[in-house]
């Protein structure tokens, strides 16, 4: 466990959640907690609400769930409003954050009592989460891969979120035009401009991610290969395509597909149809990967992203690990925590009583039936 101790110290810039209060979020009706720097362990049975606590922390910092779940589902069945409030410190400054959502209404984000948008949150805060559902990144449908990509690329590249939002708005307008048999072409120049930027950013991010993740995967899996390939719906794409290159390819494809798009009343060309292909041990993960392989590969991906964000943002992201250690013995747990070296704050869940050494590094909380109590 020496590795963990050395990892917690030697931090220059850091990000941490000092306190959090929760109302009406999933099964957490009313919770208030203060957290410590270092390790925070949520210990509890299945369905106790410990995973929801991690989701609340992620939603507080970045305005939406790491699972890509809509707000209507985050809202407790018996409540009309969910509200998260917290004090978060980043690079030596403290911010008061709040996220509120009313049933049937819009979500409201505030930073130090001033209403703000997602892009602003992404510019201040950064968080990486890993959990049992991550296997879906490799085994699930393409939309899961795109959601995963967008959530971390938005933290990695400033402006990506703004460009993606513009792209999606132009896309829904073009789709509406196709559905109503109106002329979709006035929206196409923007689909090309924003779409090319989205694709260029995705390609750059995925090529770095692939390189780093495959190294982690090789170590964790004792020698297995992990390969990651960006597969947009464009023909003849060379590896080093520039933004202009993507523009030209998109332009070509859009004019080729005009008739088909009008027939199916849907936009068929663009990054909203992108795919990422993963190969584990030489085989496509989606069709041939075992559950274990996909989970290990997903942890390698998250490790790689954690280190990429740490470097890029100049501080370690908030680290949220859900049941990651369930199948590991104490030594492998230590090795994995060590791999996430240099974190400033780690939140983890466990269904078994955590090892004493880990407890010494921070704080342990028992979660029961949507409530939280200090276990110190």
């Amino acid at each position: 466990m020496a590795g963990i101790i050395s990892a917690v110290f030697h931090i220059r810039d850091k990000m941490r959640v000092i306190s959090l209060s929760i109302n009406g979020f999933r099964n957490l009706t009313t919770i208030r907690a203060d957290f410590s720097t270092g390790v925070n362990i949520f210990y509890g049975a299945n369905a106790s609400g410990k995973t929801n606590l991690l989701e609340a922390l992620f939603t507080l910092c970045l305005g939406r769930s790491q699972r890509g779940v809509p707000d209507s589902i985050l809202l407790n069945w018996n409540c009309d409003v969910y509200r998260l409030e917290g004090l978060v410190e980043t690079k030596g400054r403290q911010y008061r954050l709040a996220v509120a959502f009313q049933r049937g209404g819009r979500k409201k984000l505030t930073l130090d009592s001033v209403q703000t948008g997602l892009a602003e949150l992404y510019s201040h805060f950064t968080a990486v989460s890993a959990g049992p559902e991550d296997g879906e990144i490799l085994a699930g449908p393409p939309s899961v891969r795109r959601a995963f990509l967008d959530i971390y690329l938005s933290q990695y590249t400033p402006n990506y979120l703004t460009i993606l939002t513009q792209y999606q708005r132009a896309l829904s307008q073009k789709n509406a035009a196709l559905r109503r048999e109106m002329d979709p072409s006035p929206f196409e120049p923007q689909l090309i401009t924003f779409g090319a930027k989205v694709m260029h950013a995705r390609q750059g991010f995925l090529s770095t991610l692939g390189e780093i993740a495959s190294r982690y995967h090789y170590d964790i899996s004792s020698g297995e290969q992990l390969v990651l390939m960006y597969r947009p719906t464009l023909p003849h794409m060379k590896v080093e395509t520039s933004v202009e290159g993507f523009e030209t390819l998109l332009q070509q494809r859009i004019s080729e597909y005009g008739d088909r798009e009008r027939a199916v009343q849907m936009t068929l060309v663009g990054p909203h149809r992108d795919e990422i292909v993963f190969e584990v041990g030489g085989y496509p993960a989606r069709t041939h990967g075992s559950r274990g392989q996909c989970r290990t590969a997903a942890i390698s991906l998250k490790l790689a992203i954690y280190h990429m964000l740490r470097e890029k943002r100049g501080m370690p992201p908030l680290l949220l690990l859900d049941e990651v250690f369930a199948e590991l013995d104490e030594n492998r747990t230590a090795a994995l925590v060590d791999a996430f070296s240099g974190f400033s704050q780690l939140f983890m869940t466990t269904a078994t009583l955590p090892p004493a050494q880990l407890k010494e590094l921070g704080h342990c909380y028992r979660v029961v039936g949507g409530h939280i109590e200090d276990l110190a």
Partner: protein, 198 residues
């Protein structure tokens, strides 16, 4: 709502339909109006009636006006060869405060938005085309710098350029997502000066 008079409730319901007004604010406003002296409350009613009875649209530029054509369209000091195309009357009002601009306006009455069912036929585009002749030297498209405003600009440029008229687009000096009506004069002046030809 608690046990209040039916007409107060009607007022609350009506105010709550105004843009940017929620139920809470509507209730506060309704009770404020209720407490006003009778003559002040009736003055508000008169102003609303005047707005609806006296203000209509200029048949040339489609802006709101109490005369037809409007004072802008008939102003002899204005350049008649430049038309600045905007989405709403408020945008024209904001641009009119900029000293650098001394031409005419054309108000589209919205922007292309298929999601809301708004296509070219729902905007005052036929009226704009009717104004274009060889005396017009430039059409400045000053729709908002959002996805829908840009699409409207693209659509108009494709329509007007083949007529041999210079078509320009105001510069993106405005932050993405910002509305013209809220921009200050300095920003608008810069956006106008930096306009580029399509």
């Amino acid at each position: 709502m608690f046990n209040s008079a039916e007409s107060v409730e009607r007022l609350v319901n009506w105010l709550a339909r105004l843009p940017g007004i929620g139920r809470k604010t509507a209730t506060r406003l309704a009770f404020h109006i209720l407490k006003l002296p009778a003559e002040e409350a009736l003055e508000l009613a008169d102003i609303i009636r005047d707005v609806k009875e006296k203000v209509s649209f200029c048949s040339v530029c489609c802006n709101i006006s109490e005369t037809d054509p409007c004072h802008t369209c008939t102003d002899p000091k204005r350049r008649k060869d430049i038309i600045c195309v905007v989405e709403e009357p408020m945008d024209a009002a904001a641009l009119d405060k900029v000293d650098e601009f001394n031409g005419l306006f054309h108000v589209l009455g919205g922007r292309l938005s298929p999601l809301d069912g708004i296509g070219p036929d729902d905007l005052k585009i036929k009226e704009l085309l009717a104004r274009l002749n060889d005396k017009i030297s430039e059409v400045i498209i000053a729709t908002n710098p959002q996805v829908e405003g840009e699409a409207t600009a693209t659509y108009l440029a494709r329509l007007i350029k083949p007529m041999g008229i210079k078509v320009t687009r105001i510069a993106r000096g405005l932050p993405v997502g910002a509305d013209l009506e809220y921009a200050d004069s300095v920003t608008l002046t810069r956006a106008l000066e930096g306009r580029q030809e399509f």
